[in-house]
């Protein structure tokens, strides 16, 4: 966190969706009223709305920066604002600011949840005012874009990203540099870039936090990608369920357009015009071909690949589609250089990853850690494990990763370092970065049923195995959960799930059985105990 200039007190209020839900708006009102009534001399404290301050479970969060020291408060109510302001502006008593009335609300920012974070994507999220371009510029926004436009050719930018080892953060983990190269090396003609912000996995809120906290970072990343692949036009696709992110992004886009920040002359003249596209409530639009159909104004339905969007995308043009987090990682990556980025985390999967932690843990919220950090570090050391959990695994039964296309890892695998390849081998997937922690009250068949029902509801209805198969699978899991299924039914369930996985058209159907398969693999007992007992003549 950047400390404010000495003597001026800065109040950074988390104004992201999570803290708003916890009452940040009322807090902002009370603070503004309190500041108006302030009569003491000296520079008046400044209230600054910022993006996610990470520890969502203690929201609404307020950071008070004074004399170079930052104190974080959580769970404040409007009634406590006068006491807080008196402390924040009071003369004499130096920071850290504490008082009996607020003691229980001070959040220790030396605890592992904060101390083990390695913010790159989120480096300015929580410091910068997401509605203020000048503040973003003061924090370094668009500096990398301007530098690259002036000094590097598109091929050099691509080479740098290739060297960095960055892999797509949307879930598949495809090498970003390779994808860029594929788009850039298509036959001459127009190209397009698209930022995929259709973050739909239950328990995932990384992209939302980036968009709400630091929209200019995404726009800069997208412009860099556009420059690198030779695109002059681009789209940012955000799901309609993120109204605050959309509003802030829209404002940010207007700001950069008015200032002409996305253009430059130098190694190559460049002018980039991104547009915002808002989804219409379909999970499947996170799939890239469905996303393109939706941007084009059609029904959000996937089509068979190949041809891949990198070959034939919007209007038949080569189209680069990157996830929000991938693009937002670029400014920091290019500032430190590809080699320095490649040195973070495991060599096959370098960089940092943002995770959103929810479920049965003490601390829920947003963390950014190096790839390869163990699950144990993230969900036990940082997030604190299950409240009142005991034992070496902190009461954790499993960690759900990757949403409806991912799976569950049992507590025995907590020492696994998180990266795309390792999790895939273990039958789960990293997905976009949602981690839902499950305690021993969670029955795995019910979890699998929940996710299957989700996929059945979100199937687009185009291909038969996904449309009709997920419905049948959800019903079979219903029966199993209710104890009305036999061993033969379980076998049938697996058979059908294999066919759905093998024959479905797009990733939604192909991965819909993953939660079922991974829970069957690691928690078979949970399933067997639900089966109907065999009749005497069957045994």
């Amino acid at each position: 966190m950047t400390p404010a200039e000495p003597s001026a007190v800065l109040l950074r209020l988390c104004d992201a969706s999570g803290c708003r839900a916890a009452g940040a708006t009322a807090l902002a009102g009370a603070l503004a009223a309190g500041l108006e009534g302030l009569t003491s001399g000296g520079p008046p404290p400044r209230l600054k709305p910022v993006g996610c301050l990470r520890l969502c479970s203690r929201g609404p969060l307020l950071a008070v920066d004074r004399d170079g020291i930052s104190t974080l408060y959580g769970g404040l109510s409007p009634a406590q604002m006068p006491a807080l302001l008196a402390l924040a502006c009071g003369r004499g008593e130096p920071a850290p600011i504490r008082s009996a009335a607020l003691a229980g609300h001070v959040v220790d920012h030396r605890q592992p949840f904060f101390a083990l974070q390695r913010p790159l994507v989120l480096e300015t999220c929580g410091c910068v005012d997401p509605t203020d371009l000048d503040d973003a510029l003061a924090h370094g926004a668009y500096r990398q874009l301007q530098r690259l436009l002036a000094t590097a050719t598109p091929a050099q930018v691509r080479a740098e990203v290739r060297r960095s080892g960055l892999r797509g953060r949307g879930g598949a983990g495809y090498p970003t540099g390779l994808k860029w190269e594929t788009v850039a090396l298509q036959p001459p003609g127009p190209r397009l870039v698209v930022a995929n912000g259709d973050e739909g996995d239950p328990g995932a809120f990384m992209d939302r936090s980036i968009l709400e906290g630091d929209p200019h970072r995404l726009i800069e990343g997208l412009a860099i990608a556009a420059y690198a692949v030779g695109a002059r036009q681009g789209y940012i696709y955000v799901r309609a369920e993120y109204p605050l992110a959309i509003a802030r992004l829209r404002r940010a886009l207007d700001q950069v357009r008015d200032r002409g920040l996305l253009a430059g002359t130098g190694a190559g003249s460049f002018a980039f015009t991104p547009e915002l596209r808002v989804g219409a409530g379909a999970y499947v639009c996170g799939e890239e071909t469905a996303l393109l159909a939706s941007i084009a104004g059609g029904r959000g339905i996937p089509r068979q690949r190949p041809p891949f969007p990198a070959q034939e995308g919007l209007g038949g043009c080569p189209t680069l589609i990157n996830n929000i987090e991938t693009l937002a990682a670029l400014p920091a990556l290019l500032r430190m250089g590809g080699d320095a980025h490649a040195a973070i985390g495991p060599p096959t999967c370098p960089g940092t990853k943002v995770f959103s932690i929810s479920g049965a843990v003490v601390h829920t919220g947003l963390v950014e850690v190096p790839m390869g950090t163990s699950l144990r570090t993230v969900v036990l050391t940082m997030a604190g494990g299950v409240p009142d959990g005991t034992g070496s695994d902190g009461g954790i039964k499993a960690v759900q990763t990757g949403g409806p296309s991912g799976g569950c890892l049992p507590a025995s695998l907590l020492d696994t370092g998180i990266d795309y390849d390792v999790l895939r081998v273990l039958g789960s997937s990293l997905g976009s970065g949602g981690l839902v922690v499950l305690d021993h009250r969670c029955a795995m068949p019910e979890l699998a049923r929940q996710f299957m029902a989700f996929c059945a509801g979100e199937s687009c209805g185009k291909c038969v195995p996904c449309r009709a198969g997920t419905v049948q699978l959800a019903d079979l899991l219903d029966q199993l959960v209710q104890g009305r299924a036999s061993a033969a039914d379980l076998e049938r369930l697996v058979q059908l799930a294999e066919v759905v996985q093998r024959t479905s058209l797009c990733g939604l159907g192909q991965t819909a059985p993953n939660p079922l398969f991974s829970t069957l693999r690691h928690f078979r007992g949970d399933y067997l105990e639900r089966l109907q007992p065999l009749a005497p003549w069957q045994s």
């Binding site: 379909a282 199937s459 209805g461 049948q472 058209l505 192909q510």
Partner: protein, 221 residues
């Protein structure tokens, strides 16, 4: 025109480069059941019955949209493909209401043919018996949603050939249904030219000519 050679179940065949694999299958004398495919319409790869195994590909590929390339090796009749095809046809029978014995399309139905082709002697997934509607508002034709398998041939023929855009899909997943106009009764859709192309391409008895159906005469608008 470049010609490529590839192997279908071990048999070498030559087809134009980039032609859909279905053409190579035909050249090899292999016919697979297809339901969404129609030679005059754009392919959508939705029914997944023409999936074949392509050496080197991570999963089966639909022959209707995959381009033929030099040296490809295809397998069209493996146990996994057979199991998948049969289960997909079963899913279709269970998803709608398909009582062949009393259907106007009995004996002239591609779904029925597909069932015979994949050896579907019974349906092993539970029938869902969905409550669906019949749209008898058009003076010449009839739409029976019970028999619709959502192959979208009618949508495409009306869009790509007739240019009237009468048909579309509404909702999603298991609730997906065919709609006329802006979800209106078919007879109330002004853009319909009553050309009958949708009826001609319908693989089942979902879209039929009224005179084929033992039904009281059209009551008029």
């Amino acid at each position: 025109m470049a010609v490529v050679t590839l192997h279908v179940d071990g048999m070498a065949v030559a087809v134009p480069a980039g032609a859909p694999l279905l053409q190579a299958l035909t050249a090899a004398g292999v016919t697979l059941p297809t339901l969404c495919h129609h030679p005059r319409l754009s392919p959508v790869a939705a029914c997944r019955l023409c999936l074949v195994e392509l050496e080197g590909a991570p999963r089966p590929v639909p022959a209707c949209v995959t381009a033929a390339a030099e040296g490809q090796r295809l397998a069209t009749d493996t146990p996994a493909l057979r199991q998948g095809r049969r289960l997909i046809v079963e899913l279709l029978f269970a998803e709608g209401n398909h009582p062949c014995a009393v259907c106007v399309a009995d004996g002239d139905c591609e779904l029925q043919d597909a069932a015979q082709r994949v050896g579907m002697d019974r349906v092993t997934v539970p029938y869902r018996h969905p409550p669906r509607q019949v749209d008898a508002s058009h003076p010449l034709f009839l739409l029976d949603h019970h028999r619709c398998i959502l192959c979208s041939r009618c949508v495409r023929v009306c869009d790509e050939i007739e240019g009237a855009h009468v048909w579309a899909m509404a909702e999603r997943g298991g609730r997906t249904r065919l709609i006329a106009g802006l979800d209106q009764p078919w007879g109330a859709v002004d853009s319909c030219t009553s050309c009958g192309k949708c009826v001609a391409v319908c693989p089942t008895g979902a879209l039929v000519t009224r005179e084929d159906v033992p039904l009281s005469p059209w009551p008029g608008p």
